[in-house]
Symmetry: C2
Subunit: 563 residues, 2 copies
């Protein structure tokens, strides 16, 4: 029995485009005499469609294109596609379903049974969980059809609900011989390993093969890594599709051969540790950011990007990634010095732009800064204008980037990292300006690691050594460094990991050898910066908990945790 795995990159709401991709993959499968082809979850409309699902017209359009697809399948090949199915009974108006199509007929549908409503997921907002667990007889075999979360019942990670039932166990009881899973399972660092482990465990426990097809591509803050695969009944990987790219493969289920050995699995809190120990996760992370950035820019209808280059590590890394993602000819860098900008910064920014082959323009903020200080000087209420002056510089830079963007149609990319966004060490409407915050889910230590990895991979100092070694500074006042305000990044990032990714109590965080004062200071900064994050640009999700959809904290609150 030959099964095709179609790992495609749909665009949310672009039915014509998604349909054409689906039809193309079906014809590839037919050419290879596949008996069945599997697509990812909600492939017809793209995942996640979010509140588009609340529009009656959108759901009608899903049905319209499902019917067009159905009518175009005139052969015997079985096609499994994800789509939002109308629920005619009580409960939420939709199911998250797959349809099995053959010969211009929808043979059957199956509904997702476990709905994730945690972290970035809001599926209970739209969907009713499926009521019926029922195997399907296809090609003289008993198949189990499942959707994404359905196979995650046994997941050992820390933040999941304890579901009431295990639909896969029920399917097993019904005697299924093969499990199909259509997924749109988003990336975070270590997730591909975690997911593979979940799939292996599931196959091994139940002694049946799993055909797993995941979405690939970036949609807003989420990056789907693909990594579709076939696992045999011993829990071994027999076929693996590409990571972070579209891919297509046909496998003969009767002739499976083991393709690769188990990799070590880094999960959750150990991710950061794994990174700092130089694990192979840097390459995965780099590919994720490139894909997420490229798809956000292109799916938003842009081609070019504009970046404020400071001479520091964050904007340097973003410039490199953007050049990888969009091509150097589509990247414009702007260097905007002030009276506090060092010579080193200018040299480093120019060297980097030169190394990358991207255009670099210099626009001083000094004149407008002076004029603004003079306009405002009569209105200062006291002599302490330091914070206001720092922010004016940052906001002038934001204003100039936006003006250039308004004029030339390039998307401004924001370059702040997670350590800054967490602690509020950033200026709202200043360096936070941009359509996408490329690395706002990357803690500072990981920014360094990724930059070092890139130089190693390129086998040259693509990012000038000086950028990697000098002390981080915002250069908004004389002789400023980040560590005037923040504890050392090694400590800071450890606290962030515990406080944000794991929601750890403060009293547990101090057990990591960090002083009570430092933990309190950092967590207090995090709590007080909610208002900035509320207005932050969308940022690519790279860790197990990013700000954005996965982080919903009240702003007007007064909660103080005791240690």
């Amino acid at each position: 029995m030959k099964i095709a795995l179609a790992q495609i990159n749909p665009t949310v709401g672009d039915f014509e485009y998604n349909l054409s991709k689906i039809l193309h993959n079906i014809s590839l499968a037919e050419n290879e005499y596949a008996d069945l082809i599997v697509f990812s979850e909600l492939v017809l409309c793209g995942y996640p469609p979010k509140d588009l699902l609340l529009k009656r017209q959108f759901v009608d359009d899903c049905y319209k294109y499902l019917n067009i697809l159905k009518d175009k399948i005139s052969s015997n090949i079985l096609v499994i596609v994800g789509f939002p199915e109308i629920n005619k009974e009580e409960g939420k108006p939709l199911f998250d379903s797959v349809a099995v199509i053959q010969n211009k007929n929808i043979i059957c549908t199956r509904q997702k049974l476990l709905l994730p409503t945690y972290d970035v997921f809001d599926e209970d907002r739209y969907f009713e969980p499926g009521k019926v667990v029922k195997s399907v007889e296809l090609l003289n075999k008993k198949f189990g059809l499942s959707v994404c979360e359905d196979i995650w019942h046994d997941d050992l990670s820390w933040s999941k609900p304890r579901y009431h039932k295990d639909p896969i166990a029920e399917l097993k009881e019904q005697g299924i011989e093969i499990l199909i899973n259509s997924s749109s399972s988003p990336y975070f660092i270590g997730k591909p390993n975690l997911r593979e482990l979940v799939l292996k465990n599931c196959a091994k426990k139940n002694h049946f093969p799993i055909v797993y097809v995941n979405q690939v591509g970036g949609n807003d803050e989420l990056i789907f890594d693909g990594n579709s695969c076939v696992i045999n009944g011993n829990g071994e990987v027999c076929t693996k599709l590409k990571a972070f790219e579209e891919d297509f493969k046909v496998v003969d289920l009767d002739k499976l051969t083991v393709q690769e050995q188990s990799r070590d699995c880094f999960v959750g809190s150990s991710n950061l540790l794994a990174m700092t120990q130089g694990s192979p996760l840097e390459e995965e992370l780099l590919q994720a950011v490139i894909l997420g950035l490229r798809d956000y820019v292109l799916k938003c209808g842009f081609k070019k990007a504009i970046i404020g280059l400071s001479g520091g590590i964050d904007s340097a890394l973003v410039a490199v990634i953007t050049a990888y993602a969009l091509g150097k000819e589509n990247v414009t860098c702007i260097f905007m010095p002030s009276r506090y900008t060092s010579n080193t910064s200018e040299i480093d920014a120019k060297q980097l732009a030169n190394n990358l082959g991207v255009s670099l323009k210099t626009l001083s903020i000094e004149e407008p800064f002076k004029v603004l200080l003079s306009v405002l000087s009569n209105e200062w209420e006291d002599s302490n204008t330091s914070l206001a002056q720092e922010n004016i510089q940052s906001r002038l830079r934001g204003l100039m980037l936006m003006a250039l963007s308004n004029q030339n149609g390039a998307l401004v990319l924001s370059t702040g990292n997670k350590s800054e966004l967490a602690t509020g060490y950033c200026t709202l409407y200043g360096d936070m300006c941009g359509g996408l915050a490329v690395i706002s889910d990357l803690p500072k230590m990981m920014v360094y690691k990724l930059a070092q990895y890139i130089n190693k991979k390129e086998d040259k100092e693509l990012i000038p050594k000086s950028i990697l070694t000098k002390a981080p500074t915002a250069e908004l006042k004389p002789n400023q460094t980040d560590q005037d305000t923040l504890p050392p990044y090694e400590q800071l990032d450890k606290i962030l990991n515990k406080y944000i990714e794991e929601h750890s109590p403060l009293k547990d965080i101090v057990k990591n050898g960090i002083s009570k004062e430092t933990v309190e200071q950092v967590c207090n900064m995090i709590d007080k910066s909610e208002y900035k994050r509320e207005q932050a640009a969308p940022g690519l999700k790279l860790t197990s908990r990013s700000f954005g959809y996965g982080w919903r904290m009240p702003i007007a609150k007064r909660y103080k945790e005791e240690i």
Copy 2:
């Protein structure tokens, strides 16, 4: 039997403060010999606690303060308080519960059975629905204890899920004589009427009285309107607590007297119509905005606000509301003219500030504007710099307001209306700057209605007539008016109401006598402005669907609806 209704305004996470309010109300109830006192949903931690509920320490603290409260109740009075209860079985880790406390004992708890996960609500993210529907014997009567959504099963409005069971019907079958409902039910225009209707219908259908206690106060974008009440078994209102204020009342359930007649009920799509027909909803709306604004400012730790006054209607209305909410001494207005600012604008802004008795400062943006144009002029890629120039002006104003705020600690209030935010007729990092967007859920026509209502109520031209009558303009280029870019606001707001509040298909919107071209133009503008709203300041929810938590649209999408 005497029952006390305690309608208080808790602050999310401020356990000490909330506890002291609770204890104070208990002592008031004891003084009036009440047998039982009812508090609102999750009163102990404040509603909505959002992702604070994911912190183990936060839940531990809820239990800590529940126990402190319990130990302080040494009398026979029965106390019903809302708190997050740990779920020790499968499923989500918490229940949304009420505890009944008496004589230092927790007698029992009951769990919320229907969990809203739609619009602004995310309760399935945190809570497991209660499993058991069970009446409670108190004071020799059979009570039903319910939480908020539990009584909304029969709600006729358009956007609710069809729940599988009606917990109130089950309690009725168990023979309850009185229904208690602890709520945190947020406001939108017409909601108090809708809610009263739901309560009346429920009481009438089941022939039992309902004691309904709602939270009051603003928490981030949500405003809780109070309006707690007692309804008799005929569905008549016998006691009504204040709207938009804390309140406390003791009622004798054996001596209920009908207090007020039914009011007409305006719901959903008819709200806007009701407003434009001069219904009594303006007063309700005004009180809502005042409360929401005041609580946001105070609960965020601010006392003063700063507003950019343009001479137009939006900033005028916001200035008036802010003076009402915080006191005129806490409002600073800044007038920031450019070369395009008319004399009328200056006269109107000054007149308004004078009428309000608030301080007004004038800061011209002309010099910094000129300098920025000269710095940028070498970088313009072509001659079409109009949009960029308009945005620079708006962003300079935002920058100056933020600089003053940074220096004097007053919160910047953003003054844009919903019609602008919907269509993207506003500048990101410009006029969108601010800690709170006071009227960003108020369509332009309602802005006018509310302004007119205020003048009528004040019986004078508090808002100068010229502001109410002149053509709206952003004054960012010569002779500009809003209607150069937008259709007439009467049409625009009708489209917004259908497209946003009701998610209506375009083909239904054109049935309202608006041309296909206008509907397509406006809806296209709405779709394309998602990226601006993603970075907008939180805005007070005033309609049945506001942007913010109740509106979760993808940005990188390509969905085009056909008419």
